[in-house]
């Protein structure tokens, strides 16, 4: 066992800064029907959206907290203490020059404009409730690719937006999807026309700057027949003493033969409740891959899913969760097989440090009437300290005779002898642990796009440095 770790604050200061608030629009504290009308008025919502929100609000009130199976820590969220909408306008700028100075500086510190120049096909930057910047490279736009914020999407492209919005994740899916549906703002709307393969990733960055705040972005991505897209999202927030809520809904639609890769690297501060619903529908021969890296937050509950609706559709979730002192990463995957010859693959790796707790929750469903479906599930947990904790709850229902499923789980521990061996070669305890953790996730990270694997390794190093006394 590695020597006990002092309860140090995690050092992830890259995102730990905030500028004074200068919002023009503030829905105030707490949530009532008036809050929803306020948001709808500011955003000049069409009537159907206003009604959608009001109905969702009723659903939200009627749904219980999922504490019969999930963490009791959810009860620490006081919905009446949160601010639900903060913005300085609803129109995202097309040029960084036009973005207000403070906000621009925020994203520069996070390296977003630089990454945009280097390797991205387009960027959307959200600051509290609204996208402040949204731009797509000219060549990509000319191929008919749409990449805008959700507010702009529902207004300017209603024929596509309305057809799919709320269809992958119905309002009543869970209490937090209902909450999001009531107060959603920001997030991305993307449409890729048939056959268009977007070579470089589109990226969205979600930044929380304000205290006592809830961010409820809503992302809808439709990739048409034979088209391909990689979308990446990053998120940070400053370290406040009060709880911050991040509750997104992300819906993906991969039409026949389409490919979507959705990559998340979240680096939340330890005061954030991160309760996110993410799901995709994969039509015939479509492929959806979620790459999900969860670092930070107080509690994350996130189970990206794929509904394999068409024959030969393929779904994949590759996830890494790092739970540091006092944090709980409750993550996993859902694979719902709904057609013949569909395949799914789940690989989950979690690392628990100090009193950190990692939970894997999986759902794989293959009904009896289907043929030749396959699922592979692997969950590996690494414990750094004696008081670290991991739990695995795989729920796999496979009926019928023509389907196959494979499930492997392992728990391993970084041993004191292993650390000593590395120290004897000159590595500090933090470097040794960071190398062990990187080794543990290595085979998975190798499948990530290069830019993100480098970023992830750097975050792991920072996390390990901060956790060793």
């Amino acid at each position: 066992m590695v020597s006990e770790i002092s309860p140090l604050e995690i050092e992830r200061n890259a995102g730990n800064f905030a500028y004074p608030e200068t919002h023009l629009h503030d829905a105030g504290v707490g949530l009532t029907e008036d809050t929803i009308h306020y948001i709808s008025n500011i955003k000049e919502d069409p009537e159907w959206v206003r009604q959608f929100r009001l109905n969702a609000y009723k659903t939200f009130l009627s749904k219980p907290m999922p504490t019969h199976w999930a963490s009791k820590d959810l009860e620490a969220i006081v919905f009446g203490n949160i601010r639900y909408y903060l913005s300085s306008g609803t129109q995202a700028k097309r040029s960084w020059e036009d973005v207000p100075e403070d906000v621009k500086r925020t994203f520069e510190r996070l390296g977003i404009p630089e990454q945009e120049r280097k390797f991205l096909a387009g960027v959307e930057a959200q600051f509290d409730s609204e996208a402040v910047y949204s731009n797509i490279k000219k060549a990509v736009g000319e191929q008919g690719v749409i990449f805008v914020g959700s507010t702009e999407g529902l207004k300017n492209h209603p024929e596509i937006f309305r057809k799919w919005f709320g269809k992958v994740i119905p309002t009543g899916d869970n209490k937090f999807s209902a909450l999001n549906s009531a107060v959603f703002s920001g997030g991305s709307f993307i449409y890729v026309p048939p056959g268009v393969k977007v070579k470089h990733p589109l990226q969205a960055y979600f930044r929380i700057n304000a205290e006592n705040f809830g961010q409820f972005e809503r992302t809808l991505i439709i990739v048409d027949e034979g088209a391909e897209l990689t979308y990446m999202e990053g998120c940070t927030a400053p370290k406040f003493n009060t709880a911050t809520l991040h509750s997104a809904v992300v819906e993906l639609v991969a039409l026949k033969g389409a490919k979507i890769q959705y990559i998340t690297v979240q680096n939340w501060s330890a005061n954030v409740f991160n309760l996110v619903t993410k799901r995709a529908i994969a039509h015939e021969e479509a492929e959806v891959k979620w790459i999900d890296c969860n670092i930070g937050s107080r509690l994350t509950m996130k189970y990206p899913g794929v509904v394999l609706k068409g024959r030969k559709a393929r779904g994949e979730v590759l996830s890494i969760a790092l739970a540091s002192n006092g944090q709980h990463q409750d993550t996993g995957a859902k694979m719902v097989h709904a057609a013949d010859e569909t395949t799914s693959n789940i690989i989950s790796k979690s690392i628990s440090i100090g009193t950190g707790r990692a939970t894997y929750r999986g759902l794989v469903h293959v009904p009896k009437h289907l043929k030749n479906c396959k699922n592979n599930t692997e969950c590996d947990a690494l414990l750094i300290n004696a008081n670290s904790r991991t739990d695995t709850y795989p729920a796999i229902t496979v009926r019928g005779t023509g389907n196959s499923v494979q499930h492997e789980a392992s728990v391993s521990q970084v041993s004191a002898e292993q650390i000593f061996y590395m120290q004897q070669r000159g590595l500090t305890e933090a470097q040794a642990m960071s190398l062990s953790v990187n080794g543990f996730v290595n085979d998975l990270v190798r499948q990530f796009p290069m830019e993100y694997s480098v970023e992830l390794k750097r975050l792991i190093e920072l996390e390990m440095e901060g956790s060793v006394g």
């Binding site: 020597s3 391993s412 041993s415 004191a416 002898e417 292993q418 000593f420 061996y421 590395m422 120290q423 004897q424 070669r425 000159g426 590595l427 500090t428 305890e429 470097q431 040794a432 190398l435 062990s436 990187n438 080794g439 543990f440 996730v441 290595n442 085979d443």
Partner: protein, 254 residues
């Protein structure tokens, strides 16, 4: 001053004293063998020198070129030039030998300085050729699924790459067949020179046929019971450790 000087060293594990007043000096450039029966404290000595946290030093000193080693944490000792080849090297799943050694060398550079990748690989391949290692070896995870011989060769590769001032080789010959033993011995011999002092811990004389020591010490019950040149090893081989124990019983032995 240019020596690894151990003086009146006493060390315990779980309150049990294993090293009981041991003194020994290894000048740089020399190879000293420590032989001794099982349980005499040979491996404990290696671990104490490397700074293993389970062992507690209760008295005595260890100086490396005049610097107090016992005051330093294990990683600092290593960076200052103390190397230990483990009897049972640990596995580091998912970390390749190339990346591990790179991290170890990087840890020796001043902050802000980056290891030059081309120089690093040139050096790595040179040392691997020396140890008759296949290039593909370094893309394997450290010690994971290695045979006994591969593990020991990996230890010697690390020794060659990290270029310490003093190296303690803890039963590097154990678990090796004769071919592997020769390769490991050739590796150590090729590193032999005025800048390296070696403490070679072994139970059997066999290794000393291939790595000829400058001095041989016999360790019994946590102390050096007898010292001599390479012929002492041969004498031990012939007479067995009981001979030293019997001798030790006589008060005349210093």
């Amino acid at each position: 001053m240019n020596e690894l000087a151990i003086k009146d060293l006493r060390a315990t594990i779980a309150e049990q004293e294993i090293i009981r007043g041991l003194s020994l000096a290894v000048p740089k450039g020399e190879i000293h063998a420590i032989m001794g029966p099982n349980g005499s404290g040979k491996s404990t000595l290696a671990k104490v020198l490397a700074g293993h946290p389970d062992y507690k030093v209760t008295a005595g000193s260890v100086m490396m070129d005049g610097q107090d080693v016992l005051a330093l944490p294990p990683d600092e000792r290593a960076r200052q030039g103390m190397f230990m080849a483990f009897q049972y090297p640990n596995e580091i799943p998912g970390v390749t030998i190339a990346n591990f050694l790179r991290a170890a060398l990087q840890a020796r550079l001043p902050e802000g300085e980056e290891l030059e990748a081309t120089d690093y690989y040139a050096k790595l391949y040179e040392k691997m050729d020396l140890l008759e290692m296949d290039r593909s070896f370094t893309s394997r995870s450290v010690n994971e699924g290695f045979s006994g011989g591969e593990k020991k060769r990996n230890e010697i590769l690390q020794l060659a790459m990290l270029e310490p001032k003093y190296a303690v080789l803890d039963e590097t010959d154990s678990g090796l067949d004769i071919d592997a033993l020769k390769i490991v011995a050739n590796g150590v011999n090729s590193l032999r020179g005025p800048n390296l002092g070696v403490l070679l811990i072994t139970h059997y004389q066999r290794l000393l046929d291939y790595i000829v020591p400058d001095h041989v010490h016999v360790m019994v019950q946590g102390r050096i019971a007898m010292s001599g040149d390479k012929n002492l090893a041969l004498e031990l081989e012939e007479k067995g450790y009981d001979w030293v124990r019997d001798d030790l019983a006589e008060p005349a032995i210093a």
